[in-house]
Symmetry: C2
Subunit: 198 residues, 2 copies
DNA sequence: TGTACATCAGTGAACGCGCGTTCACTGATGTAC
DNA sequence: TGTACATCAGTGAACGCGCGTTCACTGATGTAC
């Protein structure tokens, strides 16, 4: 219900600023509630401080706006994980572990965005730039770290799938079952990762 | 858009039949789309073949209806898992494994209900009969099977948490990323369960 | 240096829709007499 | 055995709301001359 000030129109030639502000606003709103379905075109316009119709100047419809948000945050999410892995040094197991911890931390701290990224179907096919491969960069980076840990004789793809699905499960169940008697998060993750990657 | 026939009113003394029919209809609709947020009181009434206001004869509001659906399917879900474990015989590892396979199968075959059960917060606290413990029966049964596998020297609670979160991850990611190059499901589950429970 | 005007960056009213919720009501049916 | 009537099991109209989308429009600002 945060009634934003009426936005000042952009200068000539800077019409694309509004596009960025719309994506910003939609991201903030998604991060708050996490429910993609609750994001409405009119609410985004209100948050930006602009007439509802102005959204149409930059997006065909709400789906394309949501896609823009997702694409942007997939990139950011991947960068966060890479940074965590790099900060952990060169040792493969330390890199993979740091990546896992960073994955869960991001998910728990950005509940709404995580929901938008991984708890809804990607989007109607005609809007998918490259079907099924959004977020593949994130997966592929983890697969490489894991392959470095286990060597060439183990199916690193299968292990990376275990890694991803298990961490995803940790994020989503903790988000949605806050009253469950969860173990300490660091203990849980260290034990889980040790069991999956060896 | 299935316009159901207008329902015939129940006989005297059988007013509770409508309550059951409402829960049935809401369950069918949830099983179809899976989005709790898309379930509307009016749509449920239409599916039942009854005036929208008739819902109020049996439920205070939509939340209480959704809770009724959840409670009912938690019971059914637990029974399915128990049956699978029992069908697997007495050997602890076989029982736990069967339980895991049945969990994932139920989730993938009943996408909508699984979403309703495990991908939304339980409900506003005043509606929770026993906060945080809905579904605890399902968890507890798995924990016992796992404890039988690993013996008394291992933290079976932690292992059961791994088991649950990992299987939940399998169900939800496969549901939402259908284009990902997933491994064969049985291979994935057998390998995953073997790594987690030992 | 001044000004007409094309273009850019939006706005605002209006529409039809489905929704939750309220309120007064209806009409079949079992039962007391 | 017949009937009045209380009660049960619903109905239907109406409300105000937020939504997506359309359409014609406005008004500031750069630029060509």
């Amino acid at each position: 219900v945060s009634t934003t000030e009426r936005r000042r129109r952009a200068r000539r030639g800077e019409g694309d600023k509004l596009r960025a502000e719309i994506v910003d606003a939609a991201s903030r709103m998604l991060a708050r509630t996490g429910e993609v379905g609750e994001l409405s075109l009119r609410a985004v316009a209100r948050e930006v401080g602009v007439a509802a119709t102005s959204i149409y100047l930059h997006f065909e419809n709400l789906d394309e706006l949501v896609l823009a948000v997702k694409l942007r945050y997939f990139d950011q999410f991947g960068a966060v994980l890479d940074a965590a892995a790099d900060a952990a040094g060169d040792q493969p197991i330390a890199r993979a572990s740091a990546r896992g911890h960073a994955y869960v931390r991001f998910g728990l701290e950005n509940v709404g965005l995580y929901r938008a990224l991984f708890m809804s179907e990607m989007l109607p096919p005609h809007l998918m730039p490259d079907a099924g491969f959004i977020g593949a960069g994130v997966f592929e980076a983890a697969r490489r770290d894991i392959a470095d840990v286990v060597g060439p004789d183990v199916d690193a793809h299968l292990l990376a799938v275990h890694f991803w699905t298990a961490l995803h499960g940790v994020v989503t169940l903790r988000t949605v079952r806050r009253n469950f008697p969860w173990p300490d998060l660091e203990v849980q993750l260290d034990d889980l990762i040790a069991r999956l990657i060896q």
